[in-house]
Symmetry: C2
Subunit: 146 residues, 2 copies
């Protein structure tokens, strides 16, 4: 769709790293300084809502969401994982999969809530190092799906 | 789990209305004055993350999430539906399914973001009336699943 940033499908290096691309969707490791390990799955075609997909397409997409959740749990060892498909600002189907920690910048709120604290820099640095292992862990898990 | 408000499974009338209860989960129409039509699906047992469920359980739960999304789209005619499984404050698996409108109190942010505007009372009243049809629409759709 014209003027849709997700249809444009351009990922600037400062925005994140493309982890995996399939026929239906792509997975990005988001470069968020407060939330290392934040991943996003973007449906390639312009669709607004999950219930606009066929049952098979929903299954494909949710399987990937849960693969990423599982990889985040194993690699990042978070206190909690947050899953969300909002799209109020960009109504092109995409899922946020976010590792959360009791000392992260927004805990216990959502990552769209008011900032509550500053995570120690040394802690963030350790998490950024861990997040470097995520792309390979996600790709390995996806290869097991087929 | 002890001290978990969702394990306690007590729904006060002012919190919302029980729409449907199954062996695995229950569906509540949340009484949120700003967001008529807001629904929540709660997994009955204490589980933290989607990837702790079996593949079959995930499918059951997500089928219900999409049934509710679809019913919300038909009954409430929102601009967008938001789906989220967060659980930072209550780490017992539950999904929020929320109809969103360009004039709602938090648009275009998440419903956990800063309030942006006041929806006109007459508009909210119409939406509250529509939301009264949701429980029956959801139950009818679930009966078609089986």
């Amino acid at each position: 769709m014209k003027n849709c940033v997700l249809c444009a499908d351009i990922l600037k290096p400062e925005e994140g790293e493309l982890v995996w691309r399939g026929d239906d969707c792509r997975i990005v490791l988001v470069n968020d300084p407060d939330l290392p390990g934040f991943c996003r799955i973007i449906w390639n075609h312009h669709v607004g809502e999950m219930s606009e997909l066929t049952f098979g397409e929903r299954e494909v997409l949710m399987s990937l969401v849960f693969v990423v959740e599982d990889a985040i749990r194993h690699v990042m060892q978070p206190s909690k994982v947050n899953l969300a498909s909002l799209g109020n600002q960009v109504p092109h189907l995409h899922w946020h999969i976010i590792p959360r920690y009791a000392d992260d910048a927004f805990f216990p709120g959502s990552v769209w809530s008011t900032r509550t604290q500053q995570t120690p820099g040394s802690v963030l640095e350790v998490r950024k190092q861990k997040a470097r292992d995520l792309p390979e862990a996600i790709r390995a898990a996806i290869s097991q799906l087929h």
